[in-house]
Amino acid sequence: MALEKTGELRKDTVNNNATSIQNKLNTYLPDFLNYTIVIFNETTNTTVKPVLTNENETLSISYFLSGDIDDFKPREVRVYMWGYE
């Protein structure tokens, strides 16, 4: 089930729980792929950002969330991926 559809992604994001998002994604992603999740507010990362040794070989994708019910908190969930070639 989609994390966003169940509300899990929204809850994990406003709770700043990137580890929980990563654990839930683990079962869906291939083993060869290295990736990590980082959550950002408007100005900075709110969870640990990895040291990327070679940014040219790292891809990132973003997903925006406005918050959760009665908890307005704009956030960007960014997935960094490397080691795919």
């Binding site: 994390l3 966003e4 997935v79």
Partner: protein, 206 residues
């Protein structure tokens, strides 16, 4: 309904795998063409995410009705800042309308948000009343005005700017029910695609 979040991420992973396969199986021009197509699809999915979240801002602010428009404004600013960092362009005109729960005569509160990346000469007109004007409404600003209304009536609010843009927004007020109407006009531009959407959301507030 699309699988959001997770499917978005999985789609990106699939894209990468496809790219790896492409690199070993086709010539360079083909790779570049297919890469552009994939980037365009990827960009489109991201833009759908942005517009979905703009509308969800109303849903998550539902119980704090006085904050709805401010939250849409904040999320739109957040999105524009983030998209600018990605060298993408976010253009947004928004109209937020709220009426209280009452009967008889009351006030309709209307806010226009300009995130069009330029100053505009904005105009509002409710039914056949005299239009009101805000000249030189700067980018990243909002303008709030009030109208006297009779609950239970249906109104047409015309929002326009620069004499070239005009949209009608229908507002159906309800006796003893507070309502919120959001009108969205959004254009998102990336390296491969442009996404435009224009729509209205109506909510009866608790």
């Amino acid at each position: 309904m699309k699988n959001k979040g997770q499917m978005f991420i999985i789609a990106a992973i699939i894209m990468i795998v496809i790219l790896i396969i492409l690199k070993t199986g086709v010539n360079i021009p083909d790779i570049m063409q297919r890469n552009r197509e994939l980037e365009g699809k990827f960009e489109h999915d991201f833009f759908v995410n942005v517009v979905d979240e703009l509308t969800k801002t109303i849903d998550i602010s539902y119980h704090q009705s006085n904050n709805i428009t401010n939250n849409v404004y904040s999320f739109a600013n957040f999105t524009r800042k983030k998209m600018t960092e990605k060298l993408q362009n976010f253009n947004f005109l928004y109209l937020g309308v709220i009426t209280p729960a009452s009967s008889g005569n009351d006030i309709m509160n209307v806010t226009v948000i300009n995130l069009l990346n330029k100053p505009i000469n904005a105009t509002l007109q409710l039914n056949s009343f005299t239009p009101v004007n805000y000249s030189e409404m700067l980018d990243s600003t909002s303008w709030t005005t009030n109208y006297s209304i009779t609950q239970g009536q249906t109104y047409t609010l015309i929002v326009g700017y620069n004499g070239t843009y005009s949209e009608n927004v229908t507002i159906v007020t309800k006796i003893n029910k507070a309502i919120y109407v959001g009108f969205f006009d959004v254009t998102l531009t990336g390296s491969e695609t442009t996404y435009k959407d224009k729509f209205q959301k109506n909510h009866t507030l608790p």
